[in-house]
């Protein structure tokens, strides 16, 4: 639309002329003219109901006052928001709203940020004329996150509308009629949505407050620290609300950033902060001698680490040392980590990919960069008309992206969702179902169909098709040709299609193939914009992108620059620990025993390596195996930058001082370099970021200051970084998938759950409360054959081990599969079978 197409109207509000686009409501026009009209039910992000009647304004020549939230501005209108008539009506509404209100401000958590308090001071009567019994309602328990106090509710219905329009499952309703109306859930059941915390922000009064924060603090004691959420790679902008006196994070609220999360957060990110306050956090370094742990000071611990690493370097050479760092640390820590290992310890044995067996150093993600993928999921989804998702259970992986998908679908965009089981967003999508492990095969089937639709393809694509036969693909994916063709046709018909791959597709055993097939699909469609391929991968760990950008790879340094002689990747490092070629292993922020897909292998490696250094905020089972354990500060206690899955570099400012006895990861690394005698000294985050900006080409010109409060999106790495990159080995599709062996006739499928006890989530009691124990989901047909019923105790056994579980019969799982959702401590699902051969049997 060109500038001249935008129609505007000019009106007068309180004597001031305002020009706004046609269709603007009066309340927004007034806002643009600098006039604030008090309101309750209106929210710019929700549908308009105009029911509170607080925002009434006077319009010249219109006899009745009109709600400014629903009345469109019109040319020549003369509007008064402060006339006597308006003020009087506003006062009346305020009085009405207060007649039933319990006036229990002293015990109300909203106190201090309550719109009822604020408006009645500014617009209400001084005294109440109401002398009757106030109406009261029962107080229900609506789950671990939200407290509902109906007596304080003013029935503005913002909460109801949010959960219906944005949150996805319309769990709240106004029940009953008239002044017996109240907010509630169906049969008073607990809220089960993923975004319910947002209603505590939206509720203008103290009717909906955070149960997690409730009674722990008064709002005026809280200070804000602008930060980003680190629970997934969307990187939602947040305020870490904290109280210094007790050294606690007490609430997380969204910070407006319309390029990222707008003003919404998911419940996992919002209510998980008690991990930072956890008593389980370690407060002193520990050294294990003769099997005994002993606490010590930092000087000794750092000395011990340096001594051990130097000894290895001297006796075996730097290449006998290795370091793994979880993709959850800040860019600064990740950068210094690889710098320390490379420059000081003298090894290229570095990796951040701790959750998968690494088969090719250039994995699915790097392949996507080499093929020119744009990798900007949020922006791409906004621009697309058809969004195709493959291999992602988005609601359990990247919640806010899922919320935005719902907005996109409501805005009329078409969403295609291909996955191996039902997800919570199915009803907003065109759903395509393939067999677990069949992500790449599904893409191959779609590629065949796209090429058929388009009637031709490039030589490269034809070569790929030659390796991935159509019939094999359909068989492995267990999908009809017509279904695959339907997916293809929707893409072909799209004006601006985008394709997104979840971790199941791009990070699993067939990740590289999946990415190449996806790229071939888009190439055939010609889906390129400004040279970039409309492909975005969806990694979930908060700083997966940052770890890649700053060079936590064995074969690529900062900015993806290839290193001379590549070191060992995660899998090779563990193998080296077992065969003795790795003598020292440094683990930062990774509970490898839980994360690595083959627990037995990881355990063997950690047991064998003569020096194991573990640095983390919690000790976990991995820390228990270390020789030296170094307690890290929480991210809320250090400044850092994080790069989200779309390459947006954002600042997380520290909220609290470091917990006594802990060091920030970057400080620890600097201290190690200093003690080593390498000339390192303590510097602050902004200075480290300067080094990153020098070392990583795409970050050139950025600084802590220029990142500002909203972050900056960096470009894709330059092509040169990938020239000469060895093409991935071509895997013929036939070998894409083995089949279950005789003794192990079932396929173990591990699915995700937003609320489980994985990693640090187990240290946040509200998240634990919300989680459900894992169960073995079995198809009704299989259950019948095995004579199993719901709730039966069974043992799932694979080649490597077994786990006790209870049966849940569900047709969400396909025949021949056992699905276990989420992670639960005590159920080590990575101890049963190898990632690539997930075959198990079921025993009573």
């Amino acid at each position: 639309m060109s500038q001249t197409d935008v129609q505007t109207v000019t009106l007068t509000i309180d004597g001031k002329e305002v020009t706004v686009p046609k269709g603007t409501t009066l309340i927004e026009a007034a806002r643009q003219g600098g006039v604030f009209v008090p309101h309750y039910c209106y929210d710019p992000d929700l549908s308009i109901v105009a029911s509170c009647r607080l925002c009434l304004v006077e319009i010249e020549k219109v006899p009745k006052l009109q709600p400014s939230c629903s009345t469109p501005a019109a040319d020549g209108q003369v509007v008064f928001t402060q006339s006597e008539k308006v003020l009087d009506a506003r006062k009346m509404q305020m009085e009405f709203l207060l007649v039933q209100h319990p006036l229990d401000c002293p015990v109300c958590d909203q106190g201090g940020e309550c719109k009822l308090q604020e408006y009645s001071r500014n617009h209400g009567y001084d005294d109440t004329r109401f002398r009757f019994k106030r109406r009261t309602f029962a107080k229900p328990d609506i789950g671990p996150f939200i407290d509902l106090e109906r007596n304080r509710c003013i029935l503005c219905s913002r909460c109801v509308r949010f959960l219906d329009e944005k949150g996805g499952n319309a769990e709240l309703a106004v029940i009953n009629r008239g002044n017996r109306s109240f907010i509630g859930t169906f049969q008073e059941k607990p809220l089960r949505g993923d975004f319910t915390g947002n209603i505590t922000d939206l509720c203008p009064v103290g009717a909906l407050t955070s149960k997690v924060t409730r009674f722990r603090v008064r709002v005026w004691e809280l200070k804000d620290a602008p930060s980003v959420c680190t629970m997934c790679s969307v990187g939602c902008n947040v305020n870490l609300q904290h109280r210094n006196r007790t050294h606690e994070i007490l609430r997380i609220t969204p910070r407006l950033n319309s390029d990222v999360n707008h003003r919404w957060l998911c419940d996992m990110g919002r209510f998980g902060f008690d991990q930072f306050n956890s008593a389980e956090r370690r407060r002193a370094p520990e050294i294990r001698e003769n099997g005994e742990w002993r606490e010590t000071g930092w000087a000794e611990a750092i000395g011990e680490v340096v001594k051990r690493l130097k000894a290895v370097r001297e006796s075996h050479g730097g290449a006998a040392a290795a370091g793994l760092i979880g993709p959850r640390q800040s860019n600064e820590a990740l950068f210094l980590f690889q710098q320390f290992m490379r420059e000081i310890v003298g090894t290229q044995n570095i990796d951040h990919r701790t959750e998968h067996e690494i088969k090719a150093n250039d994995d699915g993600f790097l392949t996507s960069l080499a093929l020119g993928a744009v990798n900007r999921p949020l922006e791409e989804a906004r621009r697309a008309d058809v969004i195709a998702l493959v291999g992602s259970d988005l609601p359990n992986e990247l919640p806010i992206l899922r919320l935005q998908m719902r907005e996109h679908s409501r805005a009329g965009k078409k969403i295609l969702l291909a996955y191996n089981r039902p997800t919570r967003m199915d009803k907003e999508c065109g759903v395509f179902r393939y067999h677990p492990g069949g992500d790449a095969a599904f893409l191959a089937a779609v590629l065949h169909a796209v090429v058929k639709e388009k009637g031709g393809a490039s030589d490269d694509v034809n070569a790929l098709l030659g390796q991935a036969g159509r019939d094999d693909a359909l068989k492995i994916a267990q999908i009809d040709e017509a279904k695959a063709a339907g997916f293809a046709q929707a893409l072909v018909a799209a004006e601006r299609p985008v394709l997104m791959l979840g971790e199941d597709a791009f990070a699993g055993p067939r990740g590289v193939e999946a990415v190449r097939l996806a790229a071939a699909i888009l190439d055939t469609l010609g889906a390129r914009h400004d040279g970039a391929l409309a492909l975005s991968l969806l990694p979930t760990p908060v700083n997966a992108r940052g770890a890649a950008d700053v060079g936590c790879y064995p074969h690529r340094g900062p900015g993806y620059e290839p290193v001379g002689a590549p070191g060992r990747n995660t899998t090779e490092i563990l193998r080296g620990c077992i065969d003795g070629s790795i003598q020292a292993l440094v683990l930062f922020n990774t509970n490898l025993l839980e994360e690595y897909p083959d627990r037995e292998f990881a355990q063997k490696a950690l047991q064998a390596v003569p020096t194991l250094i573990v640095a983390d905020a919690f000790k976990y089972e991995t820390g228990d195996m270390a020789h030296v354990f170094l307690p890290l500060s929480a991210y809320s206690e250090e400044d850092g930058t994080y790069t989200n899955f779309g390459g947006r570099v954002q600042r997380a400012q520290r909220a609290l001082p470091q917990l006594d006895g802990t060091l920030a990861a970057y400080q620890l690394l600097l201290a190690l370099g200093e003690r080593w005698g390498a000339g390192w000294r303590q510097i602050r985050t902004p200075r480290i970021f300067e080094f990153i900006a020098q070392a990583v080409k795409q970050y050139a010109g950025l600084s802590w200051d220029t990142l500002g409060g909203q972050g900056v999106t960096v470009p894709a790495p330059p092509d040169e970084a990938f020239s000469g990159a060895a093409p991935a080995p071509d895997a013929p599709l036939a070998s894409l998938n083995g089949s279950p062996g005789g003794d192990y006739p079932y396929r173990l499928v591990r699915g995700r759950r937003l609320f489980d006890r994985a990693g640090e989530k187990r240290f946040a009691p509200p998240l634990v409360d919300r989680s459900e124990p894992c169960a073995a989901e079995i198809h009704p047909g299989d259950a019948k054959e095995l004579g199993l019923s719901d709730g039966d105790s069974i043992t799932i056994r694979g080649e490597k081990g077994s786990a006790p579980l209870t049966v849940k019969i569900s047709s969400n799982t396909r025949p021949g599969c056992v699905t276990v959702l989420g992670h639960y401590d005590g159920v080590p699902l990575n101890a049963l079978a190898a990632e690539e051969t997930p075959w198990v049997n079921i025993q009573r």
Partner: protein, 433 residues
């Protein structure tokens, strides 16, 4: 003595009127035939405009004008909704048409659909009208079999479907936008206007909502012409009107009269046969429970929309409720306040909170717990009458204001004789109630 003039009720009593055959034998469906075969939609609207027919649901909006608001060549379907929710206390006229002459309504709806370009008409009938709903459904079924509903009606090429939708017993679903949300399957919450239903109504499509009696008047206008209809009654109150007479009269009932031929008192005395026991009238509500009550001395007003309006009340839906001298006006006020409190949808602030506050104050006065300032408090609450989403709040305000203003002495007396009546009562103690 004033006489009934039967137009809508003309055929009542003819045999088999509930069947197509019986209705046809009495001359029915000829207007439909005429409309479809001899007239254009524009002509029909012209004729209805000429008749000056006003909506009979209560607001008395000119029907022809309302129809002409439907956008021409709308890309969306146009709907007609017949408002058969008849729930306003005192009103019981629509049910007579529904129960006794359903084909008149069907014929009126079909003609109206044709006029506004609609192919789908809904009859939203109040849940308690169980029998009425059955009669209508049977009549529609039979009319469909006879080729009067469905495709190519009477060979004219015009297609139209009618369907009965039963409410669940909420007065607010008689308010036209509440009716629409209910009809869409949602909770019966009224909507803000604008947009008006004629532009964006049912399923966001152009929609006309008309009362049963309004639609039932259409066949006669088509048959005998708008001028004929207008020739009856006063300048502004044309045609005939069904009046529902209830309360303290000897012969309550539904009567069809030409407006302007008598005064309100004459109507009550002549048709109602006087007051039981020869008692005196204390007050009359002339147009359904929402309309302001009138005192006995004001009843010699001409029975037309405009004259009653000039006298400070309204003919509304035509429900005339008579209260004799034995009625306690505070109690009566409470009864009505209760009704509106019970029926408020609760969506918007003034009505949700105000209706309950009304009840609490009036109840306190009745129980002898009123405070000296309570009448003024009630009147002050009434000032917010035009701040709600829909007119239910207005309908709740008017009776309270009228009872307190016109019978204030009764309220004040109860307050004076009550617990807090003594002037020297300290305010703090008064608050303790």
């Amino acid at each position: 003595m004033a006489q009934e003039t039967r137009v809508l009720l003309e055929k009542l009593g003819t045999p088999d009127l509930l069947t197509v055959k019986g209705y046809r034998a009495a001359g029915g469906y000829q207007s439909l035939e005429k409309a479809l075969k001899e007239m254009t939609p524009e002509r029909i609207i012209e004729e209805v405009k000429k008749s000056s027919l006003q909506g009979r649901g209560g607001a008395a909006f000119p029907t022809g004008m309302k129809w002409s608001f439907i956008p021409k060549n709308s890309p969306k379907p146009v709907y007609l909704c017949c408002n058969a929710d008849e729930s306003e206390p005192g009103t019981c006229k629509d049910r007579v048409i529904i129960d006794e002459n359903p084909h008149l309504l069907i014929e009126g709806m079909l003609i109206s659909c044709f006029a506004i370009g609609s192919h789908m008409g809904y009859i939203y009938i109040r849940g308690e009208f169980h029998r009425g709903a059955q009669i209508l459904m049977m009549a529609i079924e039979e009319a469909r079999r006879e080729g009067l509903i469905g495709k190519n009606i009477l060979g004219s090429g015009f297609d139209c479907e009618l369907e009965v939708y039963r409410g669940a017993g909420a007065y607010i679903c008689g308010e036209e936008t509440g009716l629409l949300t209910s009809l869409e399957g949602q909770k019966g919450y009224p909507r803000n206007k604008p947009p008006f239903p004629a532009i964006s109504g049912l399923y966001n499509s152009p929609t006309i909502i008309n009362n049963v009696e309004t639609l039932a008047a259409v066949p006669s206008i088509i048959e005998r012409g708008g001028d004929w209809f207008k020739s009856m009654g006063s300048e502004k109150s044309t045609g005939t009107k069904l009046l529902c007479l209830s309360g303290h009269v000897n012969k309550p009932g539904v009567y069809e009269v030409v407006l302007g031929q008598m005064t309100l008192r004459e109507f009550i005395m002549d048709f109602g046969g006087g007051i039981p026991g020869g008692r005196k009238i204390k007050g009359v509500i002339p147009g359904g429970s929402s309309m302001p009550v009138m005192r006995d001395e004001d009843l010699d007003v001409k029975l037309t929309y405009e004259d009653i309006h000039a006298a400070g009340s309204s003919l509304g839906s035509g429900a005339i409720i008579v209260m004799d001298e034995t009625v306690d006006m505070v109690e009566m006020c409470l009864l009505l306040a209760h009704f509106y409190e019970h029926e408020s949808c609760g969506q918007c602030t003034p009505c949700r909170e105000g209706t309950r506050w009304f009840v609490q104050v009036v109840d306190a006065i009745l129980k002898g717990e009123g405070h000296p300032g309570d009448c003024d408090l009630l009147l002050d609450i009434c000032r917010s009458e035009f701040t709600s989403i829909c007119p239910l709040w207005v309908a709740a305000v008017w009776p309270v204001r009228a009872f307190v203003t016109k019978f204030r002495e009764e309220f004040e007396e109860k307050i004076r004789n009550g617990k807090y009546g003594k002037k020297d009562q300290p305010a703090a103690m008064a608050m303790a109630g």
